[in-house]
Amino acid sequence: MTLTPVTPPLHAPQPPLAVQVRKASVVFAAGDAPVHALSEVDLDVADGEFVSLIGPSGCGKTTLLRVIADLEKTSSGEVSVNGVSPHQARLARAYGYVFQAPALFPWRTVLANVTLPLQIQGTPRAQAQRIALEHLQRVGLAGFERKYPWQLSGGMQQRVSIARALSFEPRILMMDEPFGALDEITRDRLNEQLQQLWQRERRTVVFVTHSIAEAVYLSTKIVVMSPRPGRIVKVIQSPLPDERHLGLRDSQAFVDVAHAVREALADGHHG
């Protein structure tokens, strides 16, 4: 029960970086002028960090996440995940990815949707179901395993997709505006649950959002990005305690961090 951030002893060995990005650029050929989606981006994500990428649309935050997830190729620069290339990391199932939409298969029950990655990895059926049930419980959906996706609300569907992404216990969780399509009340509740989940398991999370409140509430590190060309303008290390509750959002510390993020966004916009 530590409410203050723990500073590691000075002589402790550096933990291995979960994600390391060096001078990464992504250029899309588009008509007459190529689009610089990402321009010489540097980013370090340590194991166990909760990092949010925030910025206006077109700033390359989703592109950066997709590069780390091996869904997009870099035009130049170096990217490593757990010390290997994103491609190798993907084949090693190093990360779980949560998309903007739940993307559940309508022909599968909730349980069968969560067992999907395990099925692909060849986990025996009974074992996969046991694991999936446990993960459904962790996202608060025990008792819904026999339902079909269309019988669930949007928020519940997205929780199923989080359980699915975590079913094979990846050390890294990547989330691309996972709550963007939900109403604010549902979104607050899911933010709280995600925070508690991170609290318990301390997985590395890379989280894309365009909500300042969400970024500040969830992250230990906030990466502010700016468009044309897509780049990182500021990295803010959050002074907030690791253990958080929704009431924290009214505290002065929270307001200060949110203010810093807003200023960085404005700088990026004018700069």
Binding site: R90, R93, F99, A101, A103, W150
Partner: protein
């Protein structure tokens, strides 16, 4: 309260759907009788009734409805002829229409299975290879522009010379009509998954085979079943067409042909009615399987 229906809602639904169909059926029968009377009257006057002796309109009416070889048989004549063939003759007699139904159904179903298999294989190949997409698709479309009536005799002669006779050549022609809707629908269905869904499979490092089996095929099922319904009906047409040029002794197509050789119009119509019923039965069976398979999906 014993008379009360246990499912009033079900009964209302039956009435709701049955009534319009029933009204149209009654109208069609009425039209059919009117047409039978109008078309048969000249023949009846010329061949049966004695114009010099005079005849009443009742005599004319009853004659037009009971001629041996009418231009247009009345519905009850067709019904009686069908019933007689079904009840008076053993199942293995060529006089029993069910014998012919079985023969045609056999080649239809075999052709349907072969056509569906071919369509599935082609669609999987086309979806997975851009080269095959460009190489095969134009030929597949072109194949359907050749009239089946022109192809059927050639196929029958060639397969016959190779020693294939009976069901196999007819099934091949049924397949020729079946595979096309299945191929086209499955190409569309296998490509129906959203980009997000295919990328998700990618993040799980799923193989192509796994992506096909776990995502593309289940996603394509709602596209497949309507194609199967069209395909099985087209297969029936193919099987019947294939029965014409062989001078085949068995099958509904052969029955139509012999009927027209000997001017047995009632026989032609009976075969026609049974082929319609067979087509209905085949498509309804596919629809039943469809409901069973897709019942759990949203909107089902």
């Amino acid at each position: 309260m014993a008379e009360r229906a246990p499912h009033p809602g079900w009964r209302r639904a039956a009435l709701h759907h049955g009534l319009p169909v029933g009204v149209v059926l009654a109208l069609l029968l009425l039209l059919w009788y009117a047409a039978a009377w109008a078309l048969n009257a000249p023949g009846a006057i010329e061949r049966v009734l004695d114009a010099d002796a005079g005849y009443t309109w009742q005599e004319l009416l009853s004659t037009t409805m009971s001629m041996e070889r009418p231009l247009m048989p009345a519905p009850h004549q067709v019904l009686l002829d069908t019933l007689e063939s079904l009840t008076e003759w053993p199942l293995d007699s060529p006089r029993n229409l069910l014998f012919h139904v079985a023969v045609t159904a056999q080649s239809t179903l075999l052709g349907f299975v072969m056509g569906t298999a071919l369509g599935l294989v082609l669609s999987v190949l086309i979806v997975h290879s851009r080269t095959l997409d460009r190489a095969l698709m134009p030929w597949i479309v072109a194949s359907q522009t050749v009239p089946v009536l022109a192809i059927a005799p050639i196929v029958l002669v060639i397969l016959g010379s190779l020693g294939f006779s009976g069901v196999a050549p007819k099934a091949v022609i049924a397949m020729y009509l079946c595979f096309f809707p299945v191929t086209v629908a499955m190409v569309q269905g296998l490509r129906s998954p959203q980009r997000m869904e295919t990328e998700m499979m990618h993040t799980y490092a799923a193989s192509r085979w796994q992506a096909l089996w776990l995502l593309r095929l289940p996603a394509a099922l709602p596209y497949l079943f309507p194609a199967l319904r069209v395909g099985v009906a087209a297969g029936l047409v193919g099987a019947m067409v294939a029965e014409l040029p062989t001078g085949a002794q068995a099958g509904l197509g052969a029955r139509l042909l012999t009927g027209s050789y000997y001017g047995q119009t009632v026989q032609i119509w009976s075969a026609l009615v049974l082929s319609a019923l067979l087509g209905l039965l085949l498509t309804a069976s596919v629809a039943a399987v469809e409901r069973l398979v897709l019942r759990k999906r949203s909107g089902a």
